[in-house]
Structure formats: C-alpha cells, structure tokens
Amino acid sequence: MRQHVTEKVQSYQLFSLVVFFELGTTIVLGNGIHQARQDAWLANLLGVGVGLLLFLVYARLYLRYPALSLTGSLQKICGKPVGWILGLVYVEYFLYLAARDLKDFTRLLQVGYFPLMPIAVTASFMLLIVIYVLTKGLEGLAGTSFVFFIFFSVMFCTTDVLILLFGEVKPEQLQPVLENGWRPVFQTVFPLMLTFPYGEMIAFTMMLPFCRNQPRKNVKTALWGILVSGLVLTVTVILDIVVSGVDISARSSFPYLITISQVEVGTFLQRLDVVTILVLIMGGFFKIGVFLHAAVVGAADLFGVHNPRKFLLPFATVVLVTFLTMAESLMEHIQIGLQIVPKYVHLPLQLGIPLLLLIVDGVKSRTKKQRSAGENFS
C-alpha cells in the first residue's frame, strides 16, 4: 500500500542542517562577547577557521571509511572490544550533549519568554516533537531543516537590514581593536569556541555515511555549512556590539534579543522580539534533534539493531532524566559548562580520540603496506 521511499539526504539539506546545528542557541547568546568583548568578531572569524580545520580531522576519518559512521570506524580501527566500548562512550556523550543543550535552551526560554512555565514541561514538549520528527529518519530531520532554512534566511536578512537601517548603529564601538592583544581572542577560541559549537560537529560523523552524494562532496557541503554559520555568527556578534554596545552585550544573557528589540520602524513595527524566539527555538530543536539522532544511530550500529527508531523512546527518556537531574541553577550550569566540561569531556572526545584514531589508522595502514611490500619482495 504505502510506498516506503528511502531517499537519502541531499547536499543542500545537509548544508541547512549543519547551519542550524552550528547556530543553535549560540546565535542568541552572542558567541564570545563575554570573553573577547569588542574583538568577539575576530574571535568568531578565527573560530570558524579552527572549526573548519577540526572538521577536516573528522572528514579525513570519514573519507578513509566512507560507508562507516564514527562507531563503525572506531571498531574498525581499534578492534572490536576497545572500539565498541569507545563507541558506547560516544553514544552516551551524544545523549549528554542533547540533555545539556536541552537545559541551555529551556533555561533561556524560561528567562526570556516563559517565566511561569516549568522547564520540565518545556523540555518534555520539545522532546516529544523531536521524537516525532526523528521517526521520519534523518531525511525527515534534514528535509525539515531545509524548509525552515529558507524561512530563517529570509527572516535573518530582513531583520539585519532593519537593524542596520533603523537601529542606532555606532560602528566606532568596535574600536579599539585588540585592546589587550591577541590573548583574550585566543582564549575565547581555545578551548571554548573550539568545543562549542565547532567541536560538536563530531555528531555529524554519525550522519555523513547516510548522505546522498560522493563522500568528498558531502565533506565540502559540511565545510560550507560551517563557514556560512560562522559568518552568520560573526555578523550577529558585530551587530550586537555595534547596536547594543559592548558592555551591555557582554553582561546580558540574550545580546541578540536586546539588539533586535532596539529596532523601531516608525510607531507600528516596534517589537521584533518574536524573531529571537523563533531563531532560538529552531536552533535548539535541530541541535537536540541531531544529537539524539546521532546517539540513536550509534546505538543501532553498536547493538546490530536494524531499525534505529526502536531506540528513540528509551533514549529520549534517558535525555529527560539526565536533564532533570542536571545542575540546579543557571550559574552552576554555566560554570560546569564553561570550565569543567570543556577540559575533561569535550577536548578528549572531540579532538583527542579522533586525532588518535587518525594516527593509529595511518600507522596501521603504513605497516600493512610495508608488510605487503615486504612480502612482494621475498
């Protein structure tokens, strides 16, 4: 009766998913203004470069084994037991990231828009929708992201033009450039910006094998996605600084909201706040969706289950429980998120293990080559 159409993800859908994933909640938070102040845009530009380099590490792994996701290539390179356990660690890591993101997101929503709504309710509703969309598979998630990407681009461009036309733009607020030298800029990029949002791209190693095109083209698409989202973040940060001022942006939890709320077009179009909430929700949704999907696909791969959808409900439950037992206050949450987690969790999992894998794989293949060459000689 019903035709099951197994279309794979198209490159533009992958692109839009990457962009949404990278923008996530970051765009509203004013990436790096807090640390690098008026040089945040420099930090952002530098961050994109580093993010692209980091993704090249993942891409290298993927190109070595184009049919395998991260959990697959882990087992291939490290052998069954070690690779399997590492794979499980990654699955849990993705679940943790999903829960963390959910926490970030619901907190922002509560502070900014729904002071009366308990975050558990917001989070459950979000998870419900994520589960529904993920039952449509990666195609569903990526396809939906593309439709919303069109919407987002139109909205973002219009808003930015309105800000430039009607906001009180003071470009001199970007000065002085590099007041305290490159140090604060570098400190913003490492390890903070490297791990969030660029290092989180590791979730895409679970998805690239399911994309339609040639592996090389997929990598190229993802790189473009990172670049574009980086530029969007930079533009946003510049607008934040130029319109709201460094000081207010750095001290506020929603610089983008403050920037947008200053647009007044005559007396009728005064409150564009709705734009921020839409951007925030879309970003949060696709980010959580990608993490949950990565975890689900990884688990299906590890346990040899054919239909990954079976993991959706249990995993969503895990995410919700993790979410509920996480740090109590926003301050504690941010402290853990900015100081402890990057060093001991993000860096090894996002940078350490992939690099190690590449090295081990390189050594392995070289010895194999030598061995086979040696055999030929003898």
């Binding site: 828009y113 969309v133 449509k136 919303f148 709705v274």
Partner: protein, 531 residues
C-alpha cells in the same frame, strides 16, 4: 505498512465475508444463454425478481419460416423512441433469403447486420453479460433456437446539461464544468485534447453499484510507473459502492492518516486537461461532476486553473496572496492567543491598551473565547451550506447579528476577537481547493489549543512537526513538498510564483514524465500552421 494501519484493518474488516461473496458472484457469471426463448425469458424474469421496469416482448418475424424472438429492456434506462424504431424495423423489414439449414442463426446474423437504427450491436453468450447490458440501457434480443443473444445500445439516461462549475469558480478562462455523465465528461476532455495519445481506460468498480470509473492519461507523457500504480490501486478497491471520486480517493491515497489532501478533485475540465498535459493521471467516475488528478503536490493544490490564464505577474501575486491567506487561516487566531496570553511585550503599546480595554469584563480566558468563537463560526458555516436556500438569508443575518453585535454588546466576547475570527475564517476560503480549506480549518483548532498552552513555543514546534509530516508525505511516490523539498530549481518557475508561459518549457520534474520538454522545438523556431 505501519502497525496501527494493520490493526485498523483487522478491526474493521472481515476478510472472510468478502471472499465468500466474491465466489458466489463468479459462479453465476459463466451461465450460458439457453437455446429456448421461453427458458431465457423466464430466467430473465426470475433473475430480475419480476422487477416492474423490466419490459419483455415476444415477437414473430419472417414469413416462412417464422422465427420467434424475445426483446428485453429496462424501461427506465432506455430511450423509448429508439426501442420503438428497433421493433418497427424488426417487424417491417423483409427477411432476406432464409438459410434452410440454420434458419435461427441466420436470423440472428440478419438482426446484427441490418438493425442500423441502434449502435453498438454485440453478440452475447452468457447471462452475466446479458444483465450487464440490460443494466446499462441496452436492448437485448433473444432469438429462438440459438444460444446467443444480440444487444443494441438504446440507452438514454437523464443528466444535467453542461453548466458552469459550482465550486471552482474562475473569472477568466473557460467556464464549463463537468456533469454527472461520464460520457459527457470524457467528451469535454477529448474535445480539448485533439491527440490520439489520450488514453481512456474504463472499469466498473463496486459490487453493487458497478460504477464506471475511467482512467485518463497521456501516453508518452505520463510516467508509466505512475499509471501502473494507479491501475493497481484502483483494482485493489474492494467495496460495494462508489458514488463519488471522494470515495475512490480514500481508497487509493498513499497515506491514510493525514490531514493534508494528497489528491485533488476538480470540477473543471480545463484543470484536468492541464494536469493531463503535464503528465498526471486523471480519474473520472460516472455519476459525479468531480474528477481526481494524481499525483499532486501541496503547492499544486494551492493553485487555481485561472493562474495560467491571467498575466503571469498577477498570477504570481495571487499565488503569494493565497499562501499568505493559508498561513493566516492556520495561524491567525493561534497567534492572537499567543500574543495576548503570553507575549504581550510584542504588541505595540496602543494596541495592547486597546485589546486590554476591550477584554475588560469578558468572562473567558482568551483561548476559551477564541475556541468558542471559532466553533460558532464553523457551526454557522456548516448550517449555511446545508440549509435550504430559502433559509440562507435569515441564517446569515442571524449569524451576523448574534456574533457580530449581540455577543459583543453583551460582553461575552471582545470585538477584536470577532475581527480575528472573521479574518481567519475568510482567509481559509481563499484556497481554491476545498480540501485545503478543511485542512486549515481543522489544524487551526489544534494550533489554538497548543498556543493556549505553550504560546509561540508551541506554535513553532508543532509547525516543525507539521512540516516534517508534510515532507514525509508522498502522492503516488511524488514528494508532497516538491519542488521546495526536495529542491528542484527549474520547477520553482511554476510554484510559489508563475513565470511567463514561454519560460515554462519543461514539465514538472517531480512527476518524472516520459517527455520532460513540453515542445520538441526550441523557442523561436518556426512553427508551421496548416489550414
């Protein structure tokens, strides 16, 4: 097939019963016609249960030897004049040289060759065909001594003349609408497509009604896979009656549980022709003035036939307007609820004060107020559609006075709520296709509920789920959101906007037509006219 569908199927259908009835039917089919005219006529009378409109006459024709013949027809289905001429002809004409050895079969052949007054003469051997022919208005002539009968088309069924379409109204372009007669409908299409490549396949569906269902497509343009799939699904229909295309639609849809229409019915032959020319398949059903076109996409449903007759700039603007109106009808009241109950900071100050003032003393929360008003509006609408025409006027006045004036004056609802309801209500009728109207009307209530609970957050998340659902929908294998997702650049020319006709050189990619290009020659080539 998803689990729940199987479950529904098991619950509601009893497959055993159906198999039994089918067996019975097939055993009757093969009974041959008796050689004796008496036996035949008796059998016929019994088969039709002495139905009073079954007319049977016995005649003797020829001089020497004489042959007895029996004429049977159903009074209510035939043209009396035609039958009279037939009988006159049978009685009046001289039999040519009787064949001594086989006088009876000679008579039969003579009847077949000489009765030119009626068309479509056929030989019949079994009873199944006899009853079928009788029921479609033919007159059957039994000849004594042969086990074959002859039937001639004398049918004449009452039906409406071709008039303007009732629902899909256009101010420009052709204004003929389909009628209840399948023949007329096909002729309306045929006269617009002067090509031998137009294929018409007929098949009766429904064990009781045996309604003729016709499948139309353009050979060489339509994707053969789609044609095959449509045929297959039509054959799988297992029902006793088909009265309208809507019933067919429910049987052959891809996704059963969705609020979005994956096929559309049209009352206009020109719409169907334009679909056929693009490579779609049309399904016509006898007895209804609506025809289905498949496969269709969401954007296609939001288009009107008129879009192609107007200038492209106006057509594009109107299409955009329609999409905006669809959005308003979906989100209008939900947004009102979200803004007044959750996000007051997003309203301009003067509007906030004015809404706040209007809502003073209204006894319900915004969501309840909105649901009440929208509900009342829907009831009024339904009543206005169903009520006898004479009641329409008083009904409209009652609605306008009760909702528009009294409820506001009584302080039950705020005036602005009435405005919002009116705007969303009117917007939902901008969509040219009734199916979309229904979608937006049902979804609107869902959005209102969710926005009353979660505000904008709920609206956007449910929209995400809705888009994910729409993008998983297929209409005969064609993605529902094409050409936006999956993206096909060259099809965007005729989607949200419509570019000039000379730029629409290809048929939609999503249909995978056999010939992608509408015309063989390139634009600017010489075209020869013959006259």
């Amino acid at each position: 097939m998803p689990k729940y569908q199987k479950w529904f199927r098991r619950w509601f259908n009893n497959p055993k019963q159906q198999e039994d009835s089918q067996e019975k039917q097939s055993s009757v089919e093969l009974l041959p016609v008796y050689p004796s005219i008496q036996d035949n006529l008796t059998f016929l009378k019994n088969a039709f249960g002495h139905s009073s409109d079954l007319q049977i006459q016995e005649l003797t024709i020829g001089k020497s030897p004489t042959v007895r013949i029996g004429i049977a027809y159903i009074d209510s289905l035939v043209n009396a004049d035609k039958v009279m001429t037939l009988i006159k002809d049978l009685l009046g004409k001289e039999l040519t040289q009787p064949n001594e050895t086989h006088p009876h079969s000679h008579v039969r052949d003579w009847i077949k060759e000489n009765l030119t007054v009626v068309g479509d003469m056929k030989e019949i051997r079994d009873w199944n065909r006899v009853s079928k022919m009788l029921l479609s208005g033919h007159t059957v002539v039994f000849v004594d001594g042969t086990n074959q009968a002859v039937s001639g088309d004398t049918s004449s069924v009452e039906h409406r003349a071709v008039t303007e379409p009732k629902t899909q109204i256009a101010t420009k372009g052709p204004n003929e609408g389909f009628t209840e007669s399948l023949r007329t409908n096909i002729s309306l299409i045929r006269k617009r497509i002067k090509s031998p490549n137009l294929r018409v396949k007929k098949k009766p569906i429904g064990q009781v009604t045996r309604t003729d269902v016709a499948l139309l497509y353009m050979e060489g343009i339509a994707n053969p896979k789609v044609v095959k799939e449509v045929k297959k699904r039509l054959e799988n229909i297992n029902t006793d009656k088909i009265l309208d295309t809507g019933e067919i639609g429910e049987w052959i849809e891809d996704q059963k549980f969705t609020l979005f229409p994956t096929l559309v019915s049209y009352e206009r032959p020109d719409s169907i022709v334009s679909h056929l020319a693009e490579g779609r398949v049309a399904i016509l059903v006898d007895g209804t003035p609506y025809a289905i076109a498949v496969p269709v996409t969401f954007l296609k449903i939001l288009q009107s036939a008129e879009d192609y007759f107007m200038r492209y700039d106006l057509a594009s603007v109107l299409r955009l307007l329609r999409i905006v109106a669809f959005m308003i009808s979906l989100y209008g009241s939900a947004m009102y609820i979200a803004l007044t109950a959750f996000h007051q900071e997003m309203l301009p100050t003067s509007l906030l004060i004015s809404i706040g003032a209007q809502r003073q003393g209204v006894p319900f929360p915004v969501m309840v107020e909105a649901l009440l008003m929208e509900g009342t509006f829907e009831i009024l609408r339904e009543a206005a559609v169903r009520a006898p025409r004479a009641l329409g006027q008083p009904l409209a006045i009652m609605g306008a006075v009760v909702i528009g004036e009294t409820a506001v004056v009584a302080g039950l609802v705020s005036p602005i709520m009435v405005i919002v309801v009116a705007i969303t209500g009117i917007s939902s009728y901008v969509a040219p296709e009734a199916a979309v109207t229904i979608t937006s009307r049902i979804l609107r209530f869902g959005f209102m509920l969710i926005s009353g609970v979660f505000g904008l957050y709920g609206i956007l998340l449910v929209t995400i789920a809705m888009v994910a659902h729409m993008q998983s929908l297929r209409s005969f294998g064609v993605p529902y959101l094409a050409p936006i997702s999956p993206l096909v650049w060259s099809d965007l020319k005729d989607s949200v906007v419509r570019l000039p006709h000379w730029m629409l050189s290809n048929r939609p990619h999503e249909l995978k037509p056999q010939r992608l290009w509408r015309i063989k020659y390139k634009v600017g080539d010489r075209v020869e006219y013959d006259d």
